[in-house]
């Protein structure tokens, strides 16, 4: 304990270091302000209309997350409990290029059609659905983010409501049924809309300009499914299926639902899924100044040990405390603690200030729960603390300030830059963010990958290959390894 106090006294008595620590925290705030001020969103309600600062309305799901909710819905009101069963013909589709030109009739892998029960026909309302997909077999999905896999060959679907519980079944022959999933929809009213649906996500063509960022362009696709042998149980209003284009994906141009006798044909385009590639801003974006602060704490971490060598202080320090490993540990605690506090304060100030500027500039900000926000603030502080310890260790190993600082900056900042600025293609970029200390920045990420949405989940679009804590563990592993080597060398070498 007295060791830690001794090291803390050394740190706080150098005025330049205290100033630098403050500058590090302020750089987070400054970069956050620059990011927020330099990000503006505007849109037009139609060609020739004036530009409005803001963003088109973004539907949100029951969890608050941004969602895509566009599909063609042939529905009737189901009062209370009930069941619907139907048989589907194979899906057909037509896809268009970015300019609306007809392209081919390949069925997109996540084109989907089947049975759905939904609170109402507004976008983002709670739902559960059982469906046949283009290439992923039968799925049961609910509330946009949840997805349960079913068998691949089944063509018969059944959806049952009992109170708040929705159960999905699938069958290959219409006689033996397999339960796919049972989910709870807490917000489902007694009068719900239930029926048949079809939709198909836009095809994405990712073009990457190396050194100039990535671009994703796509064209609309439309999926068509024919339902027959439709059977209902329970209290259903009316006799005919009512057609609604939820989110108006068809522009009202084509009749999306056709009934002839006992068969119903539904065509739709869009998706019912989380909006992973939308135009919104993740809250972590305003914390890009973490890299600036990391550069500052790298300098401080290195100086904390190399200054002792330069002034010969290290001999006094080690004469007073012959257990050298403990001296290094005390230094790590002090420099890590200082960096942690500076990072936490910087992030705490930056988040509310920059997010409010972003909002004023018309940007849509993706929902982040309180737990996520806490993880981002503490994660920023933790990344800086570990970076400072890494710098201390590398400073002890190489003893030359300039080389040590450059090594830390090249390990922490450059890989992120190479990966996120699309200097390298997606594959090598992902490996950089798995294997270098830059992986630690994953702790700030809020964008989630969803298996049920096809997208180029690459660093150029803000997706880290590792989970938040997995990436942080990589950074920690570097710091621990470097600290171990530093302690070993400190014991072996003369000071």
């Amino acid at each position: 304990m007295s060791l830690i106090r001794a090291e803390w006294t050394k740190f706080r008595s150098v005025r330049g270091w205290l100033i630098a620590t403050t500058v590090g925290a302020l750089l987070i705030v400054l970069f956050g302000w620059l990011t927020a001020t330099g990000s503006r969103s505007s849109y037009q309600e139609g060609p020739g209309q004036p530009e409005i600062i803001g963003h088109p309305p973004v539907p949100t799901g029951p969890g608050g997350e941004a969602v895509k909710d566009q599909f063609t819905f042939a529905h009737r009101t189901l009062n209370g409990d009930g069941t619907i069963t139907a048989h589907l013909s194979p899906l057909t589709a037509s896809t268009e290029g970015p300019d609306g030109d007809p392209r081919d009739n390949d069925v997109p892998a996540w084109a989907k059609a089947g049975l759905i029960i939904k609170a109402d026909t507004t976008q983002g309302s709670t739902y559960a659905a059982i469906m046949v997909t283009g290439a992923h077999g039968v799925r049961m999905q609910h509330n946009f983010t949840e997805d349960i896999a079913g068998p691949t060959g089944a063509r018969w679907l059944r959806l049952t409501r009992s109170g708040k519980t929705i159960t999905g079944y699938a069958s290959a022959d219409g006689t033996t049924w397999a339960k796919i999933g049972e989910v709870q929809l807490s917000g489902l009213p007694a009068d719900a809309q239930a029926g048949l649906f079809a939709t198909s996500p836009a095809t994405a063509t990712v073009t990457q300009h190396l050194g100039g960022g990535g671009m994703s362009t796509g064209g609309r696709s439309t999926a068509t499914a024919t339902f027959d042998s439709i059977a209902t149980e329970g209290v259903w209003a009316g006799a005919a299926w009512q057609a609604t284009s939820v989110g108006d994906p068809m522009d009202g141009s084509t009749p999306a639902v056709q009934q002839s006798g006992s068969t119903v044909t539904v065509s739709g385009s869009g998706d019912i899924a989380p909006d992973v590639a939308g135009a919104g801003v993740g809250i972590e974006r305003v914390l890009i100044g973490t890299f600036a602060a990391a550069t500052v704490v790298a300098v401080l971490g290195v100086l904390f040990i190399t200054t002792e060598y330069r002034r010969g202080m290290i001999r006094t320090t080690l004469a007073a405390r012959p257990r050298r490993g403990r001296v290094l540990a005390a230094k790590a605690v002090v420099i890590g603690g200082v960096a942690f506090v500076a990072g936490a304060l910087g992030a705490l100030v930056t988040l509310p200030v920059s997010l409010s500027i972003l909002r004023e500039n018309g940007n849509y900000i993706y929902h982040a729960s309180t737990a996520t926000q806490a993880r981002i603030v503490l994660g920023t502080a933790a990344v800086l603390a570990v970076t400072a310890v890494l710098a201390l260790a590398i400073g002890t190993i190489v003893r030359r300030s300039a080389v040590a600082v450059a090594t830390v900056v090249l390990l922490v900042v450059l890989p992120y830059l190479l990966a996120s600025a699309a200097v390298l293609p997606a594959g090598p970029s992902q490996w950089l963010l798995r294997l270098t200390p830059a992986a630690g920045m994953a702790i700030q990420q809020t964008a989630l990958e969803y298996a049920q949405v096809d997208f180029a989940y690459s660093p150029a679009f803000g997706f880290f290959p590792l989970s938040p804590w997995g990436g942080f563990a990589v950074l920690c592993a570097y710091a621990v390894a470097a600290l171990g080597l530093a302690a070993w060398l400190l014991r072996r070498r003369d000071a």
């Binding site: 990712v206 050194g211 100086l303 830059l417 200097v423």
Partner: protein, 251 residues
């Protein structure tokens, strides 16, 4: 002035660090260039790649080593007190800084030439296997290569100026690397196109690297040579500040 130059050259030549750093700059530049060239590839949607710029990706790494060298040349003297002997022997402080700049620029230009030539040769050898071509006789490619050599020399001068101002190796390299790497990181997250353009025009690294571009030159926020000019202004500003500090402050 010749004797001052000679003195600085002797200092640079006789300590172990500089030679090792110059070799390190060459090796790291070519190595990252090789990595980038052999990783070059397109997603299924197709892509456009700037073969010369891809081959010269390693300059992003080599610039840091060159900056370390420049910082060490100045801060090293402050670290061990040699600066007082130097300034006693040569009281004209501007001459000392000028001599340091000249003796640093020569070896950096040479190392830069080797690094850039090596990177382009590697690109020429590797890229065809990835389905791209790099024509070394193309005027734009030659401009990218020559510009990259000058870019490295200007980064060294920028670092020399900054280190003369802050007199501290760790702080100096921190500031220089911050200038080189943090602007591009900020450019990545700013979404307003006007802001992005402005940042690319004023940042020492992104403006300077415009000289490496051989594709879509007319869509660049700043022309290749103008961009290198922006970096030259930064370097000149840093050297001027260094000269003022050197004149006005005690060593």
């Amino acid at each position: 002035m010749t004797r001052v130059l000679h003195a600085e050259w002797t200092k640079l030549r006789t300590v172990g660090g500089p030679v090792g750093l110059l070799i390190g700059a060459i090796v790291l530049t070519v190595a990252l260039g090789w990595l980038a060239a052999s990783a070059a590839g397109c997603p299924p949607g197709g892509c456009v790649i700037d073969a010369a710029k891809t081959s010269l990706t390693g300059v992003l790494l080599g610039q840091a080593v060159v900056a370390v060298l420049a910082v060490v040349v100045v801060a090293g003297e402050y670290g061990d007190g040699t600066i007082r002997a130097t300034l006693t022997a040569v009281p004209r402080r501007g001459a000392v800084l000028a001599a340091k700049a000249v003796t640093l620029t020569g070896p950096v230009l040479l190392a830069g030439l080797v690094a850039v030539a090596g990177s382009l040769a590697v690109g020429r050898a590797v890229l065809p296997g990835r389905g791209f071509a790099l024509d070394l006789t193309d005027a734009a490619t030659l401009r990218a290569g020559a510009g990259s050599v000058l870019y490295l020399a200007l980064v060294a001068l920028l670092a020399l100026g900054v280190a003369t101002v802050v007199r501290n190796a760790a702080g100096g390299i921190g500031i220089v690397l911050g200038m080189l790497y943090l602007f591009p990181v900020l450019t990545e997250v700013v979404t307003d196109p006007r802001w992005e353009r402005r940042l690319r025009q004023i940042a020492p690294s992104t403006a300077g690297q415009a000289v490496q571009t051989t594709l879509g030159v007319d869509t660049l926020p700043i022309g290749p040579w103008q961009g290198l000019g922006v970096l030259a202004l930064w370097a000149a500003g840093a050297l001027l500040a260094g000269w003022l500090v050197l004149r006005l402050r005690d060593a």
